[in-house]
Symmetry: D3
Subunit: 175 residues, 6 copies
């Protein structure tokens, strides 16, 4: 019995674009409904319209995943950030500790808020939202920072629960 | 300018079924793509096939939301658990602290794992998975416990970031 | 062998006033000297003269007990706060998380200080005391906030150590 | 205006017995009702009948107060433990860290449980109670360990909130 | 005014061996006595006789530095571990989270103990030492694991206090 | 087989000066290279040139060791601080909790920074450095505060890993 066509097509696209099928897809393929729900939400967050660049979205994922010590996501999204952000050293810094990375003020504000959202029991205060607006983020941007940070906290936890391993190819990508 | 038809229809169904539109829908309706992705994933997790009853799924949401101190989710899903679980006292106990609630061994094992998944940096060990199998959970059930716990950690964080307020109607439901 | 008269009289008064004997009394009745010392201190704190209303005192108990995840005290004092505070929704919000409850500035300052006192190793700074005075609290009020918060931290721990269960009647009271 | 007679008599007794009035009495004397409630409960716990020696009771106070970093209580009860326990080196070890003190198995079990009670959100499990029984503690002893640990967590918090300073005389007592 | 001869010679050796002077040397060169004390201790720990291989010693440094989120040390010692350990993927896994890295039982025991030493307030219990002996470590090995873990906790803190930046050359080394 | 001459001479000097050999020397004497590296670094930090008095350096050691609950270092360096600082009550206060000790503004700033360095994952911000300069500390002083705090965090961990016991003589010294 084979993969559903839509999932097989995701596999094929990945083989063509990066040469291999990321293990997260292989894991989720065991539950096709979950695969589709995850991919759909992922694409809204990471490829949907909005004020954040694709590199900024990946930076949020990497910063939060590093705080959550997620082996799979730091590795896979670290590779994506090295490529999309065009600054592999900065990407590796964020993968270790965004607080001591050489960030622009915009990225520092963005990752600071992502990190707050990642805390257990966080609720945004007015001051925090005002500071983000002062740093140039719209309310939609603020939503997107929060949603990306929170969604990948979910993804980090699934990777941990399913003992997902990064494909070895990721380690050398974008260097 | 009105709501997209599919969202308007969700509003209508809620008004019919419970008499009001939960504020989470009003919040997400501002971003229809997010509304749809959230609802689709929610339905896979909470209404999809699987070995966990609907009450068990709600119990996971309430236990994790209480650990995350999420005002909206404890209130709204607490109401759902009172109704679906048919034991309002137990539901209220879980909303305060699942560890000191009068749980069956099955629920204690289930909520114990959900709580582990909710910890920052969790990665499941073989012992933990074996214990769950010993308590009668299949691998698919284990996936579902983890996915529900982790997804509502995401939802808790969105509720905190968007300062979502529970509708007052929830407090009296199921009592 | 029966209960000492003074304890039997507390039982009787409770049966008359609320229809049942709260389990905390049944637990402490096993050690009459402890029962009396507890009740005497309780009454000084909760019914003694002072600038805090009875609802405010219960709000402190509920907020601290929720932070300490005390099944018994959140349930029993949550019921008291719903009745004395005459705002059951607000009472339930405080029982989940006072930080995201719809509090007046006075209550926010009061519960903020109670929560600080509840932290391990807390020592009040001058700034903190000044802020409370600025919010209209006298030095005696500040003492009372601290004493109620700290005393119920003690009570929460006894409830945990003795595995005290809330009487089922509490859940519906004041709704 | 003078002190109430009963409080004046406590002052006098302390001057006679140890040569000075401990600052905790001076602090509580400002609220005579609180003074009396505190002293009454204190005496039930520290001087009441029971299976724990007075030195054991002080050891619990010192261990918990050290965990709570309470300047006043570590100093004052540290002095009491040096005197009552007749082993000043052991007393000073407990004042720093009971876990690395040279404890008998009985004291290690006793302080281990006191420390658990001191944790936020603690609820005793059956295993924990069984282990204490195995170490020779009766149910009444277990109650007393918990009550002393929890009550002095309250006292530690009051000392912090009131910025209570140890009398300098305590530092040299019992050496 | 130039560098002291012994420090200039360390600079020269590094330029010859790896092509650049690691920034940690530039930082410490401002305080030559500190430079010498640090280097002497470093060499005892990392190059002295003992049962741990050089790769094992670097693995301890990387695991602890990652727990301490030390930008400089994860980067510089991560490079060293990629080279000395001859398994760059494993080295990168340890740099993210040793707990979810593909470790041998020996390395898991070794890094588990290093991580315990890195905890605040750690004191080794007999069980822990027995387990390490059971995993084949001698008492001298156990000392070395502890000393390397603890010394680099010191080094991590200095890097944080001095805002030390990794040289960009480190990121590509050993890949 | 005897002690190496240089270590025997340290023993002799201690016997002459304080009447006994501190147990830390006996522990390290088992690894003479470690003994020498430790002593050399210790002397640079504690006896080297610089703007901090010897009492100030010991105060940093005591404050950090108390935070790390190090039985050996609080006891041994507590004794040193009582003697060098000429204020035994203040020394004992710092040994319990520097935050509630009667510190001068200079010592409060100094121990506040030492405590920050002692936190896991600390990285100094510009504001923090500015505040220290404002309190009269030079950049070299700031380095020394950080280095002493961090080095004794290392020493605390070694004492815990090696189960080092304070000599009983320390408890009475300087009182």
């Amino acid at each position: 019995m084979g993969l559903p066509d839509d999932i097989a097509s995701v596999y094929a696209k990945n083989r063509e674009r990066i040469g291999f099928v990321p293990n997260v897809f292989r894991a989720y393929a065991k539950r096709p409904d979950h695969f589709r729900a995850f991919m759909a939400y992922h694409d809204v967050l990471m490829k949907g319209e909005g004020g954040l660049s694709r590199a900024e979205r990946e930076a949020i994922v990497v910063a939060v995943s590093a705080e959550n010590k997620c082996q799979y996501c730091v590795t896979a999204h670290g590779a994506a950030l090295r490529i999309l952000g065009k600054d592999p050293v900065l990407a590796d810094q964020i993968a270790i500790n965004w607080r001591t990375a050489d960030l622009s003020p915009r990225w520092r504000a963005m990752l600071g808020f992502a990190s707050r959202v990642n805390e257990q029991g966080f609720a945004a205060g007015d001051d925090e939202i005002e500071a983000l607006r002062g740093a140039g983020f719209s309310d939609t941007d603020i939503w997107d920072i929060a949603a990306i940070a929170a969604f990948f906290g979910f993804s980090n936890r699934m990777a941990g629960a399913l003992d997902m391993r990064p494909n070895p190819e990721f380690y050398a990508m974008g260097r």
